[in-house]
Symmetry: C2
Subunit: 570 residues, 2 copies
């Protein structure tokens, strides 16, 4: 193997592929350079003047290293790892640090192991972090528990690249012994620990970092991000479906950019298909004012450095030939994508197939709910004022507003208001739990909508203005094994999309899933969802009790700042 | 443990040590910052406003991370790892990447294992690279051979941090199968591979790098260093006893400095004692025009990044408390050195003792030579012209000059010239080999001088103008188990310093060794060694057949460019 590389570099043997006349982004020394890029099998073996068995003329293009997503939940694409790869690789993504936090919260280690196995047959390096927060908080009923002992054991395995984002920062700061056991296990195993610490600054940030947690992708302001960088944290600049932290571009300077990483965190299949993946993120951050070479470095070398991905993230001899040929450094349209020396995509089309898929029975049939009646969806208030959730556009934050609420027949009367009922139905253990709340400003009218993707425990989130429709939506999701549902009272019709893998993902062809989900989104907008929101996907973070301010879970309403339940009555 | 850190960071528990009012170099974001640096046991737990059980007022100082030497041969200090630590730690060095290439060439894995064990009881992190070139070249007789198979086996061990500098670059480029086996072994074990590639550029550099070798400390020009950086190599800026690559400071820019590392490579005990270690290197590179924050980053974070030293190389919560309190960023005089949270040196004095030393019999009594007579030191030329070695001041390079040489009684007649005899006596296997050569411009007169430190196989190097003295010097080294020797014919006296450990190192108190070696250096200058050379130490690289141009080894004269023997007759 090495002999072949050496002889190709010395022009004594053929190079398998040469990118002729390349202008490429040198992320090591922050400049554009010119030369032929010579590839032998899976490795770059030379920069200079080379001939190859196959050649691509790069005269009119700009060549950059394969893109690396520093933090992504593949499940959020609603695709399997195979489907995900088939969509993101044509956009130039060649490696990802994945945290299968969602499926593990539903299926436990069966879910994690499924993701590991399903990642093996795609031309995309998927480094799998062992989820650290299963469940994420003590507030929810999740499908599985990975306690300290289990984590300590599992983190030693080769399949666990590191420990996934430690969302339970209150647990860390409170020295919860089971929480600390997980971190200790990762440190003992020599594995890296990802963080997740919105608004954690000052002494609290000191304490969080003192445990060895080393990254963050949740900075809420330029100042917060800069404090984290100053304190030695690698920080991710996130450009996903729900969180586009473009204002944080201002935090990045010539002096700190080596410690900033690009990530998407969560991006659903329709967004990937229509907008792109990290290529789109590059376009956006460059549009927001970041210089293109810095932007490319964030999405390549910096991530490889932070996560110790050997021989990845740069264009140089000895590096794996993960390369993207872009049209230019403004639009970032990938012309060719090369993974381990093979051309795996051109002009946005994958040149590989994903016919060989792994799908064990352990991740199917995961929706377990009691039989409910319409009365179960009544909300009984003691008084006339309620703590109502508000949504804030352009992110996943929520607000709290105290509103006057009328009641009638042992139920709230929301007719004529812009307030909807919100329900979180437990779906793992048939507890019958329904968390009940109210949400303002969502716009939807005339039925119910529901989804079995509900970070982080993935119970069922429903909103609606009619108890019959809420019940119907629940039952459809039960039948479908999870997914998305819309019930139109007026039409007396339901629209649904099954997500049969853990209630999170579909094994459908990715393009079919894109089309079908888009039809459902359109219907949701037709039924009144305001255009400032991602239809459906804006719902699925409303249970996420690690991001401020107010969340609804199956056990009730949570104030994240207080890290405790609050009553619906205000 | 984690609970203690968290509570100290949150001020719920005591910090063990606080550096009050610190102005510190933030290597993460390239700036000077202010704050109290809070330490709990071995870790930094906070930056902010803190109180500690013990406090050091840093108002008048500048605080920097503990210094990391990216490439050092401890044996070149002539000290054991314990003695080395006692000298370098007070100078602010808290971690080193060590390559015990010298002792391994003498004692094989016994030598390597000795270095590992002897490194365990000192407040200095010594990451031990497994030597890759034992022997370094096929030209010499070494004390041991670590072939491909052995390397493949040993590199898997935890004690081998990585694979040491791959000096045998001709072997790599020639695809020598045993050489490539070593590299493959390191790659399979997931270990990093250090390089050593003077003058290797262009396609040759491509080929060398294509194997996965990732560092270099042998750039011979600004252009060479920049090409190496451009191609993704980490390059060391070396400031040692023999090689002070200060002209390479010009190669370092704001855009590439993250890929540059500081190292000393070889520095003998007297230089460390009188000049310093990396503190001195910082002073010199800043004197040469590098900005101080960049200089500190080279000697700390960059090395930690390149070698994946976890939680080392920076001042931030969660990092190990390896810290140096300097007087300022011009003189770099260490006031206090903190290692893993303990104050281990102040005002240049070690606050730890090295009474507990490890010294197994396997590394003693390593000089094995035949009985020679004065006639064995005769040099018989066929003609009147010889290939004579010249030394070049300010480095370890040598030159070649063809000189007219007279002969008399079957021996060269060098009387009245500035040419000396040079002999390399094999000392491992009693082969009786004596490599013979001539050296010009060394200045020494009236006897012989010799040393059993002779990179890389550590045979005995002698120079002199008298065969009796050459024989006497040989015999003294035999009796002493190696070391340094001077024979004055006029005085009929010998002066010597034993290096009883592998003929390379002494177990003497470091300060005693410094004094005794200095006395010997003074005597050498008294006997005529020109002041532009390091007395004795300029000798020990004259066998190093991996650095151009001409070298003498026990089997004869080598032209490094040709990578082959040449005759003494020209």
């Amino acid at each position: 193997m090495l002999e072949k590389y050496i002889k190709a570099a010395l022009k004594e043997n053929d190079c398998s592929l040469v990118l002729k006349n390349a202008t490429y982004v040198n992320v090591f020394t922050h400049k554009l350079q010119k030369g032929d890029i010579a590839i032998c099998d899976d490795k770059i073996v030379g920069i200079g003047s080379y001939k190859g068995l196959k050649e691509i003329d790069c005269t009119n293009f700009v060549v950059i290293p394969g893109l690396i997503d520093g933090h992504v939940h593949i499940e959020s694409s609603m695709l399997t790892p195979e489907g995900f790869a088939s969509l993101v690789v044509p956009h130039g993504t060649t490696s990802v640090i994945a945290d299968p936090h969602e499926i593990t919260n539903v299926c436990g280690m069966d879910g994690f192991n499924y993701m590991v196995e399903a990642s093996k047959n795609v031309p995309l390096d998927i480094y799998m972090q062992l989820p650290s927060c299963v469940p994420a908080t003590p507030f929810e009923t999740s499908g599985a528990i990975l306690d300290g002992e289990t984590t300590k054991k599992e983190i030693k395995n080769k399949s666990a690249y590191g420990l996934g984002e430690f969302m339970n920062y209150p647990g860390v700061l409170a020295c919860d012994s089971d929480v600390l056991k997980k971190i200790e296990g990762a440190l003992e195993a020599g594995k890296m620990i990802d963080g997740h610490s919105p608004f954690v600054v000052g002494d609290s940030l000191n304490a969080y970092l003192s445990t060895g947690i080393s990254t963050d992708h949740e900075s809420c302001s330029v100042e917060e991000m800069q404090e984290k960088l100053d304190k030695g944290m690698y920080t991710h600049l996130r450009v996903g479906s729900y969180t586009k932290d473009l204002s944080l571009v201002k935090a990045i300077t010539k002096d700190n950019y080596h410690r900033v990483i690009m990530c998407t965190d969560d991006k659903h299949c329709a967004d990937i298909y229509y907008q792109g993946h990290l290529d789109n993120a590059l376009k956006k951050v460059v549009g927001a004012g970041l210089d293109p070479i810095t932007a490319v470095t964030l999405a390549t070398l910096n991530c490889a450095n932070a996560y110790n991905l050997k021989y990845r993230g740069g264009i140089g001899p000895g590096y794996f030939a993960d390369i993207v040929i872009m049209d230019n450094l403004t639009d970032f349209n990938p012309q060719y994508v090369i993974k381990d020396g093979n051309v795996v995509a051109s002009n946005g089309k994958a040149l590989f197939n994903i016919d060989k898929r792994y799908l064990p029975k352990e991740v199917l049939n995961t929706i377990h709910i009691k039989d409910f009646t319409t009365d179960d969806f009544k909300i009984k208030l003691k008084g006339t004022k309620a703590n109502v959730m508000t949504t804030i556009s352009g992110g996943v934050m929520t607000g709290l507003e105290i509103c006057d609420i009328k009641s009638k027949d042992g139920d709230v009367d929301i007719y004529g208001t812009d307030i909807l009922k919100m329900m979180v139905v437990e779906r793992h253990k048939m507890t019958g739990n329904i968390g009940k709340g109210l949400i303002k400003g969502y716009g939807f009218k005339g039925g119910a909508m529901g989804i079995s993707v509900a970070h982080d425990s993935h119970n069922i989130i429903l909103i609606g203005d009619d108890n019959d429709s809420l019940l119907k939506a629940t039952n459809v999701l039960k039948e479908n094994g999870g997914g998305l549902v819309l019930v139109s009272k007026k039409e007396n019709k339901t629209y649904s999309l099954p997500l049969e893998i853990a209630g999170l993902m579909s094994n459908m062809e990715p393009t079919e899933l894109v089309t079908k989900s888009q039809a459902l989104f359109d219907k949701a907008y037709e039924m009144g969802v305001t255009k400032d929101k991602e239809a459906f996907f804006s719902l699925m973070f409303l249970s996420l009790a690690v991001i401020p301010h107010i969340r609804l879970v199956d056990k009730g309403l949570v104030d994240v700042f207080k890290f405790d339940f609050i009553p619906l009555d205000a």
